[in-house]
């Protein structure tokens, strides 16, 4: 065979292998979604699943209302703490990128993103639970906030950094003060990216289990008081799944379906927002 023909042939083979591996990588996604839906759907189809709270094994009509509300409260509180700080911090890191301090913040954020969530749970436990001597939603939300903070910082930074430097310089060259340029010109321009970051952080926090294990602990009752132990969706799944009762396992699958739909929904939404941001930034 002619050498060039051989080279072309080898290239085609390799291309096929690469695509094959990609498809292979997607199989777990399909399986996870399939099983979550098929096993979770029966539970989810009962309306009381969303309105009722925990019922012990054998008592029908158990639901996850307490977990959904708990997750909402936990994540909501965490967002209130993490998002404003994260955005301001992200603006700082992006706007003063050459500051030595900014690179420390950046490094710390990256490391924080990679820190095992269980360790953050331990930290929140030691920080909040130990002094007040009982588990609480607040402890859980602090743990989640710590988890969210670096994500918000880095995505905000990324979104702001995507804005061409020319925009910043143009603003400053007009004689506008730095804070006006940053907050009234740059940040609005980067808004979709920043929102994406916040959404991603929310999605991530909603799905986390480990940091909640020793902080909000979980609760079988419907609670809206964050100073008490609270249930959350992932906790529900984790706890029910390991129980030897079929009905609770089914509820775990149902909760998993709810969680997946929620998380993937937020995720797809954030991707859509982000795409707009990128298109906009491309035009600048």
């Amino acid at each position: 065979m002619n050498r060039n023909v051989r080279r072309q042939f080898a290239s085609s083979i390799w291309l096929g292998v690469m695509y094959l591996l990609t498809v292979l990588a997607l199989i777990p996604l399909g399986l996870v979604l399939w099983f979550t839906v098929s096993k979770g759907l029966p539970s989810v189809l009962h309306p009381e699943f969303f309105t009722n709270s925990f019922r012990p094994f054998g008592i029908p009509g158990g639901g996850i209302a307490h977990a959904i509300v708990g997750t909402a409260i936990l994540v909501g509180l965490a967002s209130l703490m993490a998002i404003p700080i994260g955005i301001l911090g992200g603006v700082y890191v992006a706007e003063y990128a050459v500051d030595p301090w900014a690179s420390w913040v950046r490094l710390a954020s990256d490391v924080l993103v990679g820190t095992p969530s269980i360790a953050i749970g331990l930290f929140a436990y030691a920080l909040v639970v130990v002094p007040v001597h009982h588990f609480s939603g607040i402890a859980g939300s602090i743990a989640l906030a710590i988890l969210m903070l670096p994500i918000v910082i880095r995505t905000t930074e990324g979104a702001v950094a995507l804005i061409p430097n020319g925009l910043r310089e143009s603003g400053l060259a007009l004689g506008l003060p730095r804070w006006r340029v940053s907050l009234q010109l740059i940040l609005p321009t980067a808004a979709p990216g920043v929102i994406t970051g916040a959404l991603l952080a929310v999605a991530r926090a909603s799905g986390e289990t480990a940091p909640l294990l020793f902080t909000s602990l979980g609760n079988t009752l419907f609670k809206v008081d964050p100073t008490q132990a609270m249930q959350a969706l992932p906790l529900t799944i984790y706890q029910y799944a390991l129980l030897p009762y079929k009905s609770l396992q089914d509820q775990a699958w149902g909760a998993a379906l709810v969680l997946v739909v929620m998380v993937l929904g937020i995720n797809l939404l954030s991707r859509w927002v982000l795409r707009r941001q990128i298109r906009l930034a491309g035009q600048l």
Binding site: V98, D99, P164, G166, L167, E169, S170, G171, L172, A173, L174, G175, L176, P177, R180, Q184, L185, P188, T189, L280, Q283, L284
Partner: protein, 262 residues
């Protein structure tokens, strides 16, 4: 020759200007005088410090923490290098960049952006928007779609919008940092014509790596080079453009403009 008709008074007087990024000297002992209501071009090979020099004039270098300047740059007698009235300085000394960077808002809002933040009355802002767009030779092209996003304009139009935006705060000096290097020849010549018009009212300083452009548009030209030993930029020659391109006084200038380097 315009340049021969008699120069304007000195608008910017650069005196023994040196500039450092951290420990690295970027400019050394640059001295010359930029005349009012004329176009002054700064040319030289890359790395000669021409952009740095331009960014001294409106203190854009403040963005870089390690930057330091020595010497003086007198704008109407007031030292730019040490002034604490940074915002006033930048309103007086506008700047147009290589990339037009339209703000992500309507054409009108782009021009009105700074005036509004400066708290001007809305009728005044409206007037300023119109005037600035007219002066930037953009009014006729956009007056029927002032609400359209600025990003919908072509590259050349965006650059004229950037000029209009800069005119909106009534600068006296306009600095241009390679304003045409991202544009095609058609848009470039439009900007050049616009510069010739703006010269009646503004002092213009343009940095360009395109020496033909400097020759075409400017009244005065400063030629800079990087000192081969010290690695800092220095001013080699400053003269009326026609003289510089016909009878350069310095060997190095001649070598550069005739394309015989190194």
């Amino acid at each position: 020759m315009r340049a021969v008709l008699g120069a304007g008074d000195t608008k910017l007087k650069v005196e023994q200007l040196s500039f450092y990024y951290g420990k690295n000297q970027a400019l050394k002992d640059v001295s010359f005088e930029i005349p009012e209501r004329r176009i002054t071009a700064i040319i030289g090979p890359s790395g000669c410090g021409k952009s740095t020099l331009l960014r001294v004039f409106n203190r854009m270098y403040d963005l870089i923490p390690s930057a330091r300047a020595g010497g003086k740059v007198l704008l109407d007698g007031e030292d730019v290098v040490t002034t604490r009235k940074l915002l006033e300085l930048r309103q007086k000394v506008g700047m147009v960049f290589q990339r037009p960077s339209p703000f992500p808002m309507s054409i009108r809002d782009n021009v009105a952006f700074a005036p509004r933040l400066l708290g001007w009355s809305s009728s005044r802002v409206k007037e300023v928007v119109r005037q600035s767009l007219e002066r930037a030779a953009l009014w006729d092209e956009v007056n029927d779609r002032l609400e359209a996003p600025a990003t919908s304009l072509s590259g050349g139009q965006q650059q004229r919008l950037a000029i209009a935006r800069c005119l909106a705060v009534s600068p006296e000096v306009i600095l241009m940092d390679e304003p045409c290097s991202a544009l095609d020849p058609v848009a470039t010549l439009k900007i050049e014509d616009l510069m010739a018009e703006l010269m009646r009212d503004y002092t213009i300083v343009i940095v360009t790596h395109n020496m033909q452009q400097a020759a075409r548009v400017s009244d005065y030209t400063a030629f800079m080079l990087m000192n081969p030993e010290g690695r800092y930029g220095e001013l080699i020659e400053f003269a009326p453009t026609a003289n510089l391109f016909n009878q350069p006084q310095d060997q190095r200038t001649e070598a550069y403009i005739t394309g015989r380097f190194g």
